[in-house]
Amino acid sequence: MTALKKSSLTEPELVLALQSKDPAVLKTLYSMYSSALYGVISRIITHTELAEDVLQETFVKIWQSAAHYDNTKGRLFTWMMNIARNLSIDKLRSKDFKNSLKNQDIENNVSFVDEQNKVTFNPDVLGVKQLVENLKPDLQAVLNLVYYKGYTHVEAAEKLDLPLGTVKTRIRLAIIELRRSFN
């Protein structure tokens, strides 16, 4: 579904339009990437409202700092994903988020579970989930912390009581597994 939308504009065209501040491109960008970025954000922030706030902030930042994107240094999505991840982690550590945790009631949790279940409607995800689950437990633990919980590799090393080099290697191995599954 997302792949189909993406085919409508090539990445260089998208970047050019974005940097010339064409309002139409933001809409295209949103329809192409909002759900992928929301997937990233909502794995770090499980509270639906806060996650959606971060998604909005992410696109605001994409719009406002488009000039800073340099396509020689990486793909557009990587740049956007890192904005989303950084904002998510900032939010996770903010007072705002800690307060909302206290107020979160059962209904919100239920709706969050529903949100999570939505993923299973995407048939491709089943394979990916299975893959991540089939990772060796030590690889899975690192990927969980870094990708799903928004830990830095330094924090993950502390948490798992592992040397930094080992954490880096395990992240690499986990991503290599992902790469294999897509090829």
Partner: protein, 287 residues
């Protein structure tokens, strides 16, 4: 950098951390430096990016529709319906925009009606005011002409009262045996004039009646003088004023005369003359 070193660099996992944005600014610069010099590093980064992108795409979760609405509101952008974008959210946006426009249209329409009503009311009020003003003017004119009429009638009434009084006196004197009425007729100076003089046989008093006289008009410097002819000599019996003056009593008493053969009236300068001006002999009548 040697092939072995390059391989070790790639396998250190630093490129994954680079893609995940988990490096310090200095480390990031180092990786970018390596990538610009080594195609292998560049390719490796691209492969990691693609893997993460695919992974994210396939773990996508659709956010609720109002995130997009709020986003475009926040950025102050018009959420235009683009042909290349498909989705239900743009339609929602478009709809809400239309609702807003409708509301403001309705307000404008209401205000327009109000304006038209106000103008209509103003025109009607203006016309009513004009009509009232005209009617008021007509009423003023009417009052003025009625006042004029009233004065005229008052004048007529006092004139009539005056004449009526004179006539009453005439009737009374004509009935009485004591009074002799001497009719004087017009002379060469004014052939159409006439006048009566009333002479009491007992006490010899003389009266004239303004109602019973028709004398030629005098000016401000002249008045009438009544004469009695006694044995061919004129004797003045006094002067009297204009015949049409309503300020006088109808009757005026003149000087008494013991005997007279005739009476006459001349026009003399104000205050009268010792001898009559015969050229202005108006009326004369014998006893």
């Amino acid at each position: 950098m040697s092939v072995e070193n390059l391989k070790a660099y790639i396998e250190s996992g630093v490129l994954e951390l680079y893609v995940l944005g988990d490096l310090s600014p200095e480390e990031t610069l180092q990786v970018e430096e390596m990538a610009s010099q080594n195609p292998e590093v560049r390719d490796e980064i691209a492969a990691i990016e693609l893997a993460m992108e695919n992974y994210a795409m396939q773990n996508a979760i659709e956010p609720s529709a109002d995130v997009e609405t709020k986003l475009f509101e926040k950025l102050g952008l018009q959420n235009e319906d683009e042909a290349e974008t498909i989705g239900s959210t743009p339609q929602y946006q478009e709809q809400s925009r239309i609702v807003r426009l409708d509301n403001s249209d309705g307000k404008i329409r209401t205000l327009r009606f109000a304006l038209v009503a106000c103008i209509a009311l103003l025109v009607v009020s203006g016309i009513a005011l004009l009509i009232t003003y005209n009617k008021l003017n007509a009423a003023h004119d009417q009052i003025a002409s009625l006042n004029l009429d009233k004065q005229k009638f008052a004048g007529i009434v006092s004139q009539l009262e005056y004449e009526n009084k004179g006539l009453d006196n005439m009737v009374t004197m004509a009935d009485s045996k004591e009074w002799a009425t001497i009719r004087m007729s017009g002379q060469a100076f004014s052939p159409n004039s006439k006048m009566n003089v009333y002479w009491n046989k007992k006490d010899k008093s003389v009266l004239i009646n303004y109602v019973a006289m028709d004398l030629p008009k005098t000016d401000a410097q002249h008045e009438y003088q009544l004469w009695a002819l006694v044995n061919g000599k004129p004797v003045s019996l006094g002067v009297f004023g204009k015949t049409d003056s309503a300020t006088h009593e109808a009757l005026q008493k003149m000087q008494t005369i013991q005997e007279a053969q005739a009476f006459a009236v001349t026009i003399e300068p104000m205050g009268g003359s010792v001898n009559p001006t015969m050229e202005k002999l108006s009326v004369m009548g014998g006893v």
